[in-house]
Point group: C2
Chain length 409, copies 2
């Protein structure tokens, strides 16, 4: 079950002026569930994106990148779940284009003004006919108040919908930011098996919007791991509709830009953490914080060695303070000149290791006490510099194996 | 249960003249099991080693390295299971030295002529008194015919003992090589949670012996992974007693050296594969072969991305040909200029993917047929060079989680 994560209620997800959303049942993988989302954007909305760096990137990623680069302006996003349209070569790209054209026909725009997204099983053909048949119903269903339905429609193995809204005031104008995301396996940075959509009614100049989505992504979705597998389909989209009364924000407006960036980061971090909290089979949410390193990169490298270790993750699942496994992970993280005698390891507030081994003050009961919690912080203090990195992961349970062994059945 | 792996019977493990082995019950972790091994070497025996590159290397590794470097000559190896003597700082090193001194006293040699090895739980103090108390009984038990007992005494979560002997003839002299190893979790190259001991009665010059153990290790123990965790304690030892009638082999004797190397590689490969076949929770043995790459390194990098992927490994556990997960792993392996449309993916003899996606000829029933087997080969043909690499791994099952969640209980 998700770790300390409740789905939002509809009233918590605020409409973003300029955006309307419609869902439908295309019957792609399961019957009787909404598996198709159309998100229509007002004319003049700006869109910026970060995509997976997997070399086997899926067909919709190829097409979405291409369409984002065209000068026509994005008018809608089309998302299906149940099938990733990945690993199907040229046919996959053709299929993605067909669905874009079908939606464009209904909305009265061009096919290259549609961005397609797919998530689900890899290497099976996209059921184009089913999607095309369901599109009219999704379009008929469009409403600005449909964010919760949208959050539900994009889920795969997720247990709960993930969404959040935040409002900020800039120069007396209230700005709304609403975001939704989905996980929940094949989660590893750059990016994860994840889709994230964040929209605001602020007007944001395109270069700033792109730098904002990159920064938000680096601080959130690129700091999580469930299983170390980087998906073929990941995408984080940041949409600025410009429907608020605030004049367009650009890189020169440092105050407005930094207030917006902070709020967008907050939404992105919530959505990224929600993916981990609902990680496949997760029973614990683990924050890994590596401090006082020589560089951000080495902190992240050590953090990921811990966060990816099946041995560390199964120990957390068992609530067993077998904390030597964390030391072992630090040791194999690949930092050649690491002085293991200089570092300290904490579990929440409990000092576990120092001087190259177990701390004299450490008592098993203390480790056991922290291990019983569902939100736990592993803190490694390297004592060799001033940089730090924070990552989020979950434990590794029977249910992860169960979910992934039976995924297609 | 181990995948197509039976323990050796005593008669299959041939004595190596110059070596005698004794085991005893020290009661380190479990009652009523032999958990202590003494391997005595004749005077003049040569020893070469490869150790873990984990920065948190365990105390016995520190001490064994140091003793190997001394000029006195190694006279015995001391191995305990149940406790890794790792992550215990200075005290761990002192404890390892105490056990060496205790054994040296019994054998009439110096403490720095003993190499200590430990495997088991990390970050708990080594029960030195229990080990010292059991040493006389291990020494009293020493016999050249004790290889199977030795193979059993070093196991941790392993289900079956691992050992093999091979005889070769060089210049009409029969040479014996016998090896034993243990796994079976925290297995990842450079090295694995593994101990391996290979001994021969050939006389081999020290520099050649060192290059032989490195080559054997690179082709065997450094090509396996169970869970991606690199242990703190790994060691592979190659011992040459020189008790055969064959004159000392050195780097100039290319024929004799290459016959010996091939036989040692074969023994090491058997022992390494046995560790994977008995990998924690393994139900399938998977060979990952990456061919026609630009470099050995990129082949290995892609191979490990596949071999480490929890999604790939759970699919094999389920016998589910969800083979897109293999494509995804190839895609995130980090080869920036990889042309995914150029590669071919085979499962045993079945062509699964080409031209960037599922092969037209591929039929799910064919994938299903191969997936039912317990020994399966994943073959990736990159079509961009002449190098190749082969790795071995196992699937990821409920039992892996069970074993590692409950390891200390």
């Amino acid at each position: 079950m998700p770790v300390n994560l409740k789905p939002p209620v509809a009233a918590q997800l605020l409409p973003v002026p300029g955006i309307s959303l419609g869902v439908a049942e295309a019957g792609i993988k399961q019957a009787n569930r909404k598996d198709l989302l159309v998100m229509q954007l007002c004319e003049g909305a700006s869109v910026a994106a970060v995509f997976t760096n997997n070399r086997f990137c899926a067909a919709p990623v190829v097409v979405a990148r291409e369409h984002l680069g065209s000068a026509e302006g994005v008018r809608a996003l089309l998302v299906n779940t149940g099938n990733a349209n990945a690993g199907y070569g040229e046919r996959g790209v053709k299929d993605a284009r067909i669905t874009c054209a079908a939606l464009a026909g209904l909305l009265g725009c061009k096919a290259n003004q549609i961005l397609p997204f797919s998530t689900g099983v890899i290497m099976e053909p996209l059921p184009v006919a089913k999607i095309a048949a369901a599109l009219p119903s999704a379009v008929a269903n469009m409403h600005s108040d449909n964010w919760l339905a949208a959050a539900n429609a994009i889920l795969t193995t997720d247990i709960v919908a993930k969404g959040i809204s935040k409002q900020i005031v800039i120069n007396d104008v209230t700005i709304t930011i609403t975001g939704i995301s989905k996980g929940s396996g094949m989660i590893h940075p750059n990016m994860a098996t994840m889709l994230g959509y964040i929209a605001t009614d602020a007007a944001i100049a395109q270069p700033l919007l792109q730098s904002m989505v990159s920064e938000a992504s680096d601080q959130s979705f690129n700091c999580i791991t469930v299983d170390g597998d980087t998906s073929t389909n990941d995408a984080l989209m940041l949409i600025a509709t410009g429907k608020s009364d605030l004049p367009e924000v650009n890189e020169g407006d440092s105050d407005a830009a930094s207030i917006l960036q902070a709020a967008i980061n907050e939404v992105a971090t919530y959505l990224a953490q929600a993916i981990v909290r609902d990680g496949e089979g997760a029973t614990k949410f683990i924050t890994v914080r590596v401090e006082s390193g020589k560089s951000y990169e080495e902190c992240k490298q050590i953090g990921y060695a811990i966060a990816r270790s099946p041995l560390v993750k199964t120990a957390f699942f068992a609530s067993d303070p077998n904390l030597g496994r964390i030391l072992a992970a630090i040791g194999y993280a690949g930092i050649a000149d690491l002085d293991v005698a200089a570092l300290k390891l904490y579990l929440d507030d409990v000092l576990v290791a120092e001087n190259g081994g177990r701390a004299d003050s450490y008592r098993e009961e203390e480790g056991q006490r922290v291990m019983q919690k569902s939100d736990i912080t592993i803190r490694v203090v390297l004592n060799r510099g001033n940089e730090e990195a924070t990552l989020w992961t979950c434990d590794f349970s029977y249910d992860y194996v169960k979910i992934n062994a039976g995924y297609r059945s």
